[in-house]
């Protein structure tokens, strides 16, 4: 079967093309706080926008400044140059200000058929949960109105059930990575998550079942140390591949495009909108959330413990304020907990910088005795 990293290496894959040919709609989003189930219930394919480490920026730089996060600029570039013209709409939210700038410029320049701004609170409380539920209700209405489809509670429950199943399989797969004999690489794991948010649900379920089966008897060998990779919007398969080429096997992660997208989400049941609001807001592991640092720290510590990680790499893109600030404290707390840390600030998608990244990873492995 095709390796997930090969399949996830393109923005537009053959499954998506097939979906489009069959009249299927696709809506793009970026933030992990977006409940995919609502789009899924409408029969719309929720596509998580990615840039896959592409370095071009010249169109985006005419809109955003060089002091904006490179990931957002790279996504905007792809939007402006037409790579994402296969999307029928966009969902923006207030994940971070760089992303907001990206969406606003994208919408201004390309005028997508459907656009919705989903506001996500920064705190978890009874009031904010109620607010978020209302926001999700507005999102449901907007989608239904534009795409002429009724999103019933029954169809939402069906989508929730489908996503529950997928998340269970993902957890099983990712547990295989964390085990004594890791069954897959970090690059493959990242690719699987990228596939989850870019394939039609049925195609992904089918692929995941086959990959899970294949991985059960597998064992990755020849690495120097087991690493945890945490940080911001990291969809660069090449970067994870480089870390692993030097000998640091990524056995667990706390990445926005990694386990944070599914690991902690509970099994969803009950009143759909309220269940979604509670699940997505209460388990939103992102430094954009106020007063929730210890939940995020605890998530990382537990992952490191489960996977017996010998060191942690905290990666973030230049100018990512949220993760840049968070990593200062995380570094101190993880080191205090006995986990050596490498903070890896990098330019997004800069293939030419991989040599310097390799040097730092190699030195880090030498430091931890790997």
């Amino acid at each position: 079967m095709e390796d997930p990293a090969e399949l996830a290496g393109d923005i537009l894959n053959t499954h998506l093309e097939e979906w489009r040919r069959g009249g299927g709609r696709i809506v793009g989003y970026t933030c992990v706080a977006t409940p995919r189930e609502i789009m899924d219930a409408a029969g719309i394919l929720p596509y998580r926008i990615r840039a896959l480490g592409k370095p071009e920026r010249e169109l985006a730089d005419a809109h955003l400044s060089r002091f904006n996060c490179g990931f957002c600029r790279a996504c905007l570039q792809l939007g402006l140059e037409g790579t994402y013209d296969f999307l029928d709409g966009l969902v923006e939210n207030n994940g971070c200000d760089h992303l907001r700038g990206m969406f606003e410029d994208w919408v201004y320049a390309k005028r997508p058929g459907f656009f919705h701004y989903l506001r996500v609170p920064h705190i978890v409380s009874e009031v904010s949960l109620e607010f978020f539920a209302e926001e999700l209700e507005l999102f449901r209405e907007a989608l239904g109105r534009h795409f002429q489809v009724e999103i019933t509670d029954a169809s939402l429950k069906e989508a929730m059930e489908r996503n529950n199943r997928t998340r269970e399989s993902l957890r099983e797969l990712f547990s295989l990575r964390e085990g004594e004999r890791p069954a897959l690489t970090g690059r493959q794991a990242l690719a699987v998550i990228l596939l989850e948010s870019s394939l039609p649900p049925a195609a992904f379920e089918e692929y995941l079942a086959r990959f899970l089966e294949k991985s059960r008897g597998n064992e990755v060998k020849g690495y120097r140390a087991r690493l945890l990779l945490a940080g911001s919007a990291t969809d660069e398969l090449e970067l994870v591949g480089e870390i692993e080429n030097v000998g640091g096997l990524v056995v667990c992660d706390a990445l926005c495009y990694g386990t944070r997208a599914f690991w902690n989400l509970p099994r969803l049941a009950g009143d759909p909108i309220h269940a979604l609001a509670e699940a997505y807001l209460k388990h939103l592991l992102c430094p954009r959330m106020f007063d929730d640092y210890h939940t995020r720290l605890d998530y990382i510590l537990r992952a490191a413990e489960r996977a017996k990680a010998e060191g942690a790499v905290l990666v973030y893109n230049k100018f990512c304020d949220l993760h840049g600030v968070e990593n200062v404290r995380l570094r101190m707390d993880l080191e205090e907990a006995g986990i050596p840390v490498l903070v890896l600030e990098k330019e997004y998608g800069s293939g030419a910088d991989l040599g310097r990244i390799r040097t730092r990873i190699q030195a880090f492995l030498e430091r931890i005795g790997g």
Partner: protein, 263 residues
């Protein structure tokens, strides 16, 4: 038994051979476009000086940007990051050293070692020429002086000028501005060295500075940067007893001795 270390950096390449716990010889050259050619040349020159052949060296470790290519072409048995090599080399020379500030052609690193001579922590500069040897090169070109002159000239400064930016490009513009206004070159040179030291000091503070502190890399030869760093960090640097540019290659040779089986 003899052990070798080859360090191919962005501007210079070095080779060191150690024998019976002593440095038998060292060589430094400007790099060629291909790191393997640089390694071959510098090692060949050193072996010729010492009257040795490649097979007379029991084990060789490569380091620096070209370390992997040098090993894969069979010139070295193993490769180790330059961060570890500079740490090990400095610790071998000065066992009391706990912090090494290494400023090379295109990067700056601050390396912390523990009492056993193991790498404890490190920090490396961002992908930016500011705070590296390249920054000084650019400023020297603008000032019309050599790198060697930059350190000595700044000792004559009376009223250093203010350089607001640490970005090499912007800084060059500011230097040009001062030159056009007729500022004394010595005053500008002192400010350039200070700007460099401030940048590296900020890096050092990220991992903490524990005495003894020493410097390695080409910029260690610039006395003005060194004394500015001492002033900002409030420490006295322990002078490097050998050419600071060979510390990385020396560390590689020391690691080669360990990897090659000699205690």
């Amino acid at each position: 038994m003899r052990f070798g270390g080859i360090d191919v950096g962005s501007l210079t390449a070095q080779a060191v051979v150690v024998e019976n716990g002593k440095i038998a010889g060292s060589k430094s050259i400007g790099v060629k476009p291909n790191p393997v050619d640089s390694a071959e040349t510098v090692l060949g020159m050193l072996l010729s000086d010492l009257g040795l052949r490649h097979q007379d060296i029991s084990y060789i470790v490569s380091t620096g940007y070209g370390r992997e290519q040098v090993q894969s072409r069979g010139l070295a048995h193993a490769n180790v990051s330059e961060i570890s090599c500079h740490g090990v080399g400095a610790f071998w020379l000065l066992p009391g050293v706990r912090t090494i500030i290494d400023i090379g052609g295109q990067d700056a690193k601050v390396i912390r070692m523990d009492t056993a001579g193991e790498l404890k922590d490190f920090v490396m500069n961002d992908k930016c020429a500011a705070g590296t040897g390249r920054f000084l090169e650019v400023m020297c070109r603008t000032l019309g002086i050599t790198l060697d002159e930059l350190g000595t000239l700044s000792l004559k400064a009376r009223h250093p000028v203010g350089l607001s930016s640490r970005c090499s490009i912007f800084c060059e513009t500011e230097v040009l501005h001062y030159l056009q206004r007729g500022a004394d070159k010595a005053d500008i040179a002192a400010s350039v060295n200070r700007a460099m030291a401030e940048r590296v000091a900020a890096l050092a503070r990220r991992v903490g500075v524990e005495p003894d502190v020493t410097m390695s890399g080409g910029v260690a030869k610039n006395g003005a940067v060194k004394s500015e760093l001492e002033r900002i960090l409030g420490v006295r640097m322990v002078p490097c007893p050998v050419d600071p540019q060979i510390v990385g290659a020396l560390g590689a040779a020391i690691l080669a001795r360990k990897m090659g089986g000699e205690k």
